[in-house]
């Protein structure tokens, strides 16, 4: 019964697989970015597919699964480090049914399936978020943090605050599918 979320049809580019990408989002290095389908990139989001590993050839920098949402003003940037004197970027892999709230900055290494990240979060470099975890609004996750499956993290620095219900997977999946369905275009005049 949740109300539809309307967007102006001319603002979004819709792909064959149902991805919807705002023209007001900055997609750098699009050839290095994979969107799984029915994934929405909101206006003002910045996705840095251009920050790729040095070396020849084609490389996937950021991949997102199905039914994901990158909220307004989010920054998605691959993690980097200097290992044995060599500076390099490392790929970021995000699973299915992952929603990232508005104005969050994500530099994670991997994010599993059915993960919810709130608004105004910072997900530090090389963070690993396992399936069905949840990051509350305004949480700061320091670099290299591991977030176990079905756990709720919150605060600055983000800490484990509790377990999520056993049916989190179903609840999140229903939420992300429902959200995509409610995200509908209105014709411009």
């Amino acid at each position: 019964m949740d109300p539809p979320i309307y967007y102006s049809k001319s603002e979004f580019i819709e792909t064959d697989t149902g991805n919807k990408v705002s023209r007001r989002a900055t997609i750098a290095g699009p050839q290095n970015i994979i969107l799984g389908g029915k994934t929405v990139i909101s206006s003002g989001a910045i996705i840095r597919g251009d920050l790729r590993r040095t070396g020849p050839g084609h490389a996937v920098v950021i991949s997102l699964g199905r039914y994901c949402l990158v909220g307004e003003g989010c920054i998605m940037r691959p993690p980097y480090k200097t290992y044995r004197g060599n500076f390099n970027y490392y790929p970021m892999k995000i699973g299915d049914h992952v929603h990232i709230g508005a104005n969050s900055v994500v530099e994670a290494a991997t994010i599993g399936n059915h993960v919810e990240i709130g608004k105004n979060c910072v997900i530090g470099k090389f963070t690993i978020i396992k399936d069905c975890a949840k990051i509350a609004d305004n949480t700061i996750i320091p670099p290299n943090t591991v977030i176990p499956a079905l756990s709720l993290f919150s605060g600055s620095p983000g800490r484990y605050v509790g377990d999520l219900p056993e049916s989190t997977m179903e609840v999140v999946e229903m939420g992300t599918k429902g959200w995509y369905k409610r995200f509908v275009a209105v014709e411009d005049r």
Binding site: I5, S8, T82, H99, H114, K130, I140, V146, A149, Y160
Partner: protein, 557 residues
């Protein structure tokens, strides 16, 4: 204010009706549907307050190592690998060599890369920049740090004292557990099992506290006798360390006084949160905080408290989110959502929400509140999780605002601040089918479902609908039925529009033989499956009432 609807769990209470919604205890009796379990054996809802919990596996939340339960005890429920928490901010610490990483860029070197440098090694927090060298903890090798730290922990005076206490009480505990009445068979047919955690907790709560008389309503006169019988069976305990000599270790005394006298900065004192995990007596100095080995987390098996059947059994692998057994209430009870239709037209809503497209500000907040003296419609949507259609009947729990047991006093008694109208007759919800999930066409199943309704019910339904359009079935699609209700807010009302609603649904049961109240077994057998009814309570919260004392009187009144 978000509108909520939560489900009741009686938690084995002898009184199956929930408390009135305006009492604070109401909050503990109601839960979101997706947190509840369902025991098929007992045909009852269970919640996290009443299920029996058993640990089915331990793991470290940082390295995700699955710790065998045999080593959990020796390692004191903490990770024995290289996983540590910052004592200052609780971030995970990194192991760093003494030589700084040789990048010219300071900004990049803030995050240590790997521990392959020069000894000594120390633990570093990349959030608050605490490091263990500051408190004099360094390591010659970057491995086996936990064992080295545990050696410190185990030799700390409070830890030694605790070991001594355990030794002292062990013979007594062993003796008392063997004679515990917990194993006695109970005559009652309503058998209640107690798990070890609950038993430990209840014995801790009911233990004798010196100087506080134990409340025992049945055997008041016997208390004195029992006491003398049980006391002083144990030898007197002699502590390892006299409390007077713990000055400086958190035992208070002159050392702490001197410390506080010469305090220059609050951050020199470790705050309560930082000291909370330590024993009661710990140094007040921030500079005495030690890195903490990370506490383990556990996966849990949950059982029905009445019949002990397993409701939740996780897969063995710590990071798996799948379950071998998962009996959740959402697979048995209809999911109910509540909404208050927005007064604004769709066109206005479109224009106002179109700018905030794509996440961020979702406009699903409820109204600010309901004005006293006005009438509001509301919607309840029911989603059927069963593969068979169901019939649902609703009623509002009455007499919530009367003092219990007393006849309602005329007029002066607490008048209900609002009155709720719900559809009187039963309404159908179509069966769940996997295909619905991908179905976008909403009109396919908008037809009347003739299978279950009887003529009488339907005619009454029509009457109701002609009288007022807001109360009754509003929409049917797939396995969802939306009904409308109405709430009339009293002129003098205040508080919240919150009421308990009883939901009864009738479903087809494949369970043969045992019939409900109607029909002989032979008759039901000839008719095929049995119809059964399940009832549960919910609490509906439509938000706060905006009282009459508004600056401007409402012109509608």
């Amino acid at each position: 204010m978000p509108l909520t609807l939560q489900y009741h769990c009686s938690c084995l209470s002898s009184k199956p009706t929930p408390p009135p919604p305006h009492l604070p205890s109401s909050a503990y009796n109601f839960h979101p549907l997706h947190t509840l379990f369902f025991c098929e054996e007992c045909d009852a809802v269970r919640c996290n307050h009443c299920v029996m919990v058993e640990v089915s596996g331990y793991y470290c939340p940082n390295c995700l190592f699955e710790v065998p339960s045999a080593s959990v005890r020796a390692e004191k429920n903490r990770c024995a690998r290289n996983c540590f928490l910052c004592p200052n901010c609780r971030n995970t610490l990194s192991v760093v060599p003494s030589d700084p990483p040789d990048t010219g860029d300071i900004r990049l070197s803030a995050i240590p890369v790997s521990a392959v440098g020069e000894p000594p090694f120390f633990l570093y927090c990349n959030h608050c920049r605490w490091d263990s060298a500051e408190v004099g903890i360094t390591f010659e090798k970057p491995t086996g740090l936990a064992a080295q730290l545990q050696k410190f922990e185990d030799s700390a005076p409070e830890s030694l004292e605790f070991e001594r206490l355990k030794e002292h009480f062990e013979p007594f505990l062993r003796a008392s557990s063997s004679s515990s009445p917990a194993h006695h068979p109970t005559a009652s047919s309503h058998h209640v099992h107690t798990n070890p955690i609950t038993a430990a907790a209840s014995s801790a709560i009911s233990r004798d506290v010196s100087g506080v008389a134990k409340y025992n309503p049945l055997a008041r006169s016997r208390v004195g006798k029992d006491k003398s019988a049980n006391k002083d069976e144990m030898p007197e305990y002699r502590s390892r360390v006299e409390i007077g000599s713990t000055s400086g270790l958190g035992g208070g005394g002159d050392v702490d006084v001197e410390f506080v006298k010469h305090l220059e900065d609050v951050s020199e004192v470790a705050n309560l949160e930082q000291r909370w995990v330590n024993s009661w007596a710990s140094s007040p100095r921030a500079s005495d905080l030690k890195p903490l080995r990370i506490p383990l987390l556990s996966k849990k098996t949950k059982r029905c408290p009445t019949c002990r059947h397993i409701l939740i059994k996780p897969e063995q692998k710590a990071q798996s989110v799948r379950y071998k057994i998962k009996l959740v209430a959402a697979n048995y009870l209809p999911a109910i959502a509540v909404a208050v239709p927005q007064p604004s037209s769709t066109e206005v809503a479109k224009r106002s929400t179109v700018r905030s497209s794509g996440g961020g500000a979702e406009a699903d907040k409820g109204p600010e509140g309901m004005l006293a003296g006005k009438t509001y419609p509301f919607h309840l949507s029911f989603t059927n999780p069963l593969y068979d259609p169901i019939q649902v009947r609703l009623s509002v729990q009455r007499a919530q605002y009367q003092a219990s047991g007393e006849a309602p006093a005329p007029e002066k008694a607490r008048r209900p601040p609002f009155a709720v109208s719900l559809p009187i007759s039963a309404f159908p919800i179509a069966a769940f089918a996997e295909a619905w999930e991908y179905e976008d066409d909403e009109d396919m199943f908008g037809v009347e479902d003739d299978e279950m309704g009887d003529a009488d019910v339907r005619s009454r339904d029509r009457e109701g609908r002609s009288k007022t359009k807001t109360v009754g079935v509003l929409e049917k699609r797939a396995n969802v039925t939306i009904v409308g209700g109405e709430v009339v807010i009293g002129k003098e009302a205040k508080g919240d529009v919150k009421f308990n609603m009883l939901v009864s649904y009738t479903y087809r049961s494949d369970d043969p033989g045992i019939d409900e109240t109607e029909g002989t077994p032979s008759r039901t057998a000839s008719k095929g499956p049995v119809m059964k009814t399940f009832s549960f309570y919910t609490v509906v919260d439509l938000g706060p009432i905006i009282p009459k004392e508004e600056p401007r009187p409402d012109p509608d009144l």
